[in-house]
């Protein structure tokens, strides 16, 4: 049996999805599966197709990553297939479901990470999505259990999204930012110091998420700082237009 066929069975792919290529990195123990539907994406050139990468449930001891381009609306139904993820997310629906099952079975956050071999950053993203009610099957109890970040919904209104350039401007800059809370001062100093050295965009996004999480958790105490973010954006835009 060809490796792509074997992988297709291991991942339980459904038509029209198929595997065009499998890459196994023995040293880092990673399996990368590149998915295709075998059809061209009409109306879009290959350069316009955004390829997503999602972390999936491990295959054996191998961390498994799915690479695919999601079809447009009106194309193949965008069902939450276990081997696919959503736009902008880092994990597949299957991995999220597995995390939910573990949490519902009473496992702790850290135990889930150890059992599934995922890092805490990813587990946090999934947990955050649960508490935001993005998984209808997760159940009220679990959603409530995970609602420590319950004001995230409200926070999203005033706190910029992860992809907002204001975070990158803030962290790449050495412009003063007046923080009142000791935790934010230390976090910001450390993140700015690290940010300059990071080459990987993924690593930068992880740092942005950490700072943003601080803002979400302490939103009630960070009125001045949130206002400064806006000012910071204005200043950054003003500079960029000069």
């Amino acid at each position: 049996m060809r490796d792509t066929e074997l992988c297709k069975r291991l991942l339980v792919l459904q038509e029209p999805w198929d595997i065009s290529r499998v890459r196994v990195d023995v040293q880092s123990q990673e399996l990368h599966a590149y998915l295709t539907t075998g059809k061209p994406w009409f109306g879009r050139s290959p350069f316009e197709q955004h390829k997503w990468r999602w972390r999936h449930v491990n295959v054996g001891a191998y961390k498994t990553y799915i690479h695919a381009t999601l079809p447009d609306e009106g194309g193949i139904a965008n069902e939450p297939l276990p081997f696919l993820g959503s736009v902008g997310k880092d994990y597949t629906h299957g991995l999220a479901r597995r995390v939910i099952d573990c949490l519902q079975a009473g496992l702790g956050y850290r135990q889930v990470c150890e059992l599934l071999g995922i890092d805490v950053y990813l587990a946090w993203q999934i947990r955050h999505a649960i508490s935001e009610g993005q998984f209808s099957g997760a159940g009220d109890k679990l959603a409530a259990q995970m609602s420590a970040e319950e004001d995230a919904e409200q926070a999203r209104q005033s706190i910029p999204a992860t992809g907002d350039p204001v975070w990158f401007n803030l962290l790449e800059s050495d412009q003063p930012f007046h923080a009142n809370m000791l935790g934010l001062k230390l976090l910001l100093a450390r993140t700015r110091q690290e940010f300059a050295r990071l080459a990987s965009e993924d690593a930068k996004i992880i740092r942005v998420n950490a700072v943003r999480r601080f803002f979400i958790r302490h939103e009630n105490q960070l009125g001045d700082e949130i206002a400064q973010l806006d000012k910071f954006r204005s200043q950054a835009e003003a500079v960029s237009y000069e």
């Binding site: 956050y109 850290r110 990470c113 805490v120 950053y121 420590a148 970040e149 930012f177 007046h178 923080a179 809370m181 000791l182 935790g183 934010l184 001062k185 230390l186 976090l187 910001l188 100093a189 450390r190 700015r192 110091q193 950490a210 999480r213 601080f214 958790r217 302490h218 009630n220 105490q221």
Partner: protein
């Protein structure tokens, strides 16, 4: 002395009574006294130095007890391998109090790597470094105690993770009477507890030589500005012969330090730096160097009472700083 229903300085019998109430407690005291306490919901660390409401003192007859406000609490003890996960065990809504033994590997690990732990700076963590009587520095090791079993450790950290009710949160604060001086910027090639050469205003030089040549008082720490938070690193020893300087906490690569501005009247300056209206304090501790250089024995430090410690934790390890945690209500 405090009555057994209240926190503060008390006899071991009074502390035992408080332990039997089931409250979450942090207890500082002499090793022999801590070992006599019954098992319960408490963590402890060795130090015979305290600042009580009556003033600073060194005592081997009393322990200092702090009741940890919260709706629920759990205890963990961590070796060096598990310490990086400490904040993963912390509640989403609450705080953690950590005690680490002075001179231990686990303290060195925390000092170096805590800023990289997952959830660091996002979940509040405060605490202190257990020590010993200064007359016994070379003879006795500092230790911490997991009150659930009474086990005493010299190579593990003990942590109380405290959950808070809804509508309550905490803020971490420091009292630091030092600020960066006008002298040269100091940058280090590696994160370490000691150094020989470093960059002095961008030029290679030897730090011990610079301290000696400039007549810098080694009681004053190096100070770094972390986006407005001034963080001290205290000088433990300047070895002129080896041309090396040893610190009580690591200097970090990539951070610019300066010698602190001299403080003319340390005791007065320290007492003046105490917060006038700090709010509702849940926990506080103060540095042994402040105790010594400010002559705090017999002196009161407003509402900041607690153990006198061999290092302070406000997220990361600090030196020559008082740390306190306040309760905030929505």
């Amino acid at each position: 002395m405090s009555d057994a229903s209240r926190e503060g300085l008390m006899t071991p019998d009074q502390a035992a009574e408080l332990i039997s109430s089931g409250r979450a407690l942090c207890i500082a005291g002499d090793r022999e006294l801590l070992l006599k306490l019954p098992p319960g919901n408490w963590i402890g660390g060795t130090t015979p130095y305290f600042v009580a409401s009556q003033g600073g003192l060194c005592s081997r007859d009393y322990v200092f007890v702090q009741c940890l406000h919260g709706s629920d609490a759990s205890i963990g003890n961590y070796d060096g391998d598990h310490l990086p996960h400490v904040l993963e065990d912390a509640p989403e809504h609450g705080y953690s109090l950590i005690i680490l033994p002075a001179g231990s590997r686990v303290l060195e690990d925390y000092a170096r790597y805590a800023p990289t732990y997952f959830d660091m700076f996002i979940k509040p963590i405060v605490g202190w470094v257990a020590g010993v009587h200064l007359d016994e520095l070379e003879q006795v090791g500092a230790a911490v105690v997991d009150g659930r079993t009474g086990d005493l450790f010299t190579d593990r950290a003990v942590v109380m993770h405290v959950q808070l009710p809804e509508r309550e949160s905490v803020s971490v604060h420091t009292v630091n009477l030092f600020e960066a001086g006008d002298g040269p910027g100091l940058e280090f090639a590696a994160t370490d507890f000691s150094t020989e050469d470093c960059l002095i205003d961008g030029r290679p030089g030897n730090l011990a030589d610079t301290i000696q040549a400039s007549g810098i008082d080694s009681r004053w720490p190096l100070v770094a500005d972390y986006c407005g938070a001034l963080v001290n690193v205290s000088i433990q020893a300047v070895d002129a012969q080896a041309r090396a300087v040893r610190f009580y906490a690591p200097v970090f690569e990539g951070v610019c330090y300066r010698f602190a501005k001299p403080v003319a009247h340390y005791p007065e300056a320290f007492l003046a730096a105490m917060p006038e209206d700090p709010g509702e304090i849940l926990f506080s501790c103060n540095c042994i160097l402040n105790y010594l250089y400010s002559n705090l024995e017999g002196q009161r430090t407003a509402q900041l009472t607690g153990p006198i410690t061999f290092g302070e934790v406000a997220y990361q390890l600090l030196n020559q700083t008082a740390v306190y945690l306040t309760l905030e209500r929505d």
